[in-house]
Symmetry: C2
Subunit: 309 residues, 2 copies
């Protein structure tokens, strides 16, 4: 048995720049563990495939146990896929809750790491990535920023005044409901919860299911990409109309497609640029919707930032 | 000519509880001017219909000039319909920009009041209402809150950690894009900018146009209300999936319809309660989506709060 440690209070993510902390990116495909003080000072790192909760969490605990035996860790940050229970008063605080990922419902991420004796902070992978991109990457200097990733799912996180956005739960932007013209696109969507939500219509697996082939194999001139840009622009429009972020970082595997980001920007400008009159949705939209600067390291770096790096 | 005054910096809305400030609610139907130190201490108030910009703003200036001749005002807050230019570096800071309201495009609200010599703070009517409900009303104690009004339009504002949300511009939640099943509801929507956005589908005028009679005259058992609750729940779902507010204040003239709020809560729970597992979207949803406590005074009280009341 152990006492649940105090969680780093939200306004003080950045404590001592020099203290060594741990970061765990808990992804649906892989787990990434790191120890360091920031992006230019990673002392140890491990990556392994996400299998069962027991096996995968055990490997992460083993990594941090081994590191901590040499150098104590001030804190460990966890950046996880979700939805998560982030309510500190809840009996299931730090659990993954209703994820569609098989076997990972109701999994306790925090307790096994808290048992090591470190302070543990946890947030969604996308909130953590937003934090990392805001601190060290493509959203530096922005008063508020949204990070959206389009890959095996769609996820979005947000940072306002340097702090990830929470409240009732946490942002779950991938499940926004969008206009879906079934005459143009009869595809019913892939989300097991909502069918044709944003993720159900526009994630990588949705592309593959709609067109009957992996998204990577669709040629650049395939009509898939115009429809994809349409849905991505619609989802971003809704995020912008709600949160009004100063910058949008748009990444993920699907966004690697050449020309897709430019098409999304064009459609987004058409959707909201006439109504919200700002150069950032018109002439300067390339400075508004930007690619990530931290690439696939945003998650684990965000975990380090959650831990106070 | 005058020098534009320093605008109250965002983190310090609440300066001196005792100082007398002015508040102007600039609405599409009426303007409300007030002077006081808070909701229980209103020293003067005036209401008049919104006509032309010249005439209406002149009446507000006259009101505050007369008051200020007796007692100097530390600041004047403006809570206005929008969209607004809230970028302090912009040449058109404090202007109403692309509103569909005839004659009110590109109208400068701040300069005429700043000419009185008071510090002027400005925000959207709905951000101000969110601030007032958070400070004195139905969202007291919530870490973050969204205020949505459904009436002659649909508008939404948000407060996080006691501060209205801004960034690129400000929230414009009324123009969210939603699923619109034209087989069930062939009505094309009333928004001059977007047709079937949230406001275009579910504002009071949209109800009237869809059913051919004023919303107030539709009987309680008319199918209009089930469809209305459907669109309101869809829009709130998108807001919650993006911003994850701790509380939602849902008001406006349309929400006065008996039974409508209960129907919205039920549909909202069905839409997101299974995925976002929290009692606030299930057993406790009556404590999550709540009616305003300040009624039609939220706007002008929010204007006072913007001015430091």
């Amino acid at each position: 048995m152990y006492l649940r440690p105090v969680i780093a209070p939200a306004p003080h993510y950045h404590t001592d720049m020099a203290s060594l902390v741990g970061g765990l990116e808990a992804g649906g495909t892989k787990f990434v563990c790191a120890v360091g003080t920031g992006p230019d000072d990673i002392r140890a790192e491990a990556r392994f495939a996400t299998t069962t909760p027991e096996q995968t969490i055990r490997r992460a605990v083993d990594f941090f146990t081994e590191v901590a035996a040499r150098t104590p860790l001030a804190a460990i940050g966890i950046a996880s896929f979700g939805p998560l229970d982030l309510d500190r008063r809840s009996a299931t605080f730090g659990f993954i809750t209703t994820t569609p990922k098989a076997g990972w419902q109701d999994v306790d991420l925090v307790s096994p790491l808290a048992a090591l004796g470190a302070v543990v902070a946890i947030d969604t992978d996308v909130n953590a990535a937003a934090l990392a991109e805001h601190r060290w990457g493509a959203a530096r200097g922005a008063g508020s920023a949204v990070y959206v990733t389009v890959g095996s799912g769609i996820g979005g996180g947000a940072v306002i005044d340097g702090r990830p956005v929470h409240g009732l739960v946490h942002p779950e932007m991938g499940h926004l409901r969008l206009p879906h013209d079934r005459a143009r696109d009869p595809f019913p969507g892939t989300c097991p919860h909502h069918g044709d939500c944003w993720e159900g219509l526009a994630s990588g697996p949705a592309l593959a299911a709609r067109w009957g082939q992996p998204a990577e194999t669709l040629p650049d001139d395939h009509p898939a990409w115009d429809l994809e840009a349409h849905y991505l622009a619609l989802g971003l429009a809704n995020v912008i109309l709600t949160l009004s972020p100063e910058r949008v970082v748009l990444g993920g595997g699907v966004m690697a497609r050449p020309g897709l980001a430019a098409l999304v920007r064009q459609k987004l400008g058409d959707l909201v640029g006439g109504y919200l009159r700002t150069p950032m949705l018109a002439a300067r939209i390339d400075d508004y919707v930007v690619p990530p600067a931290l690439g696939d390291r945003a998650g684990v770096l965000g975990a380090l930032a959650l831990a106070g790096a």
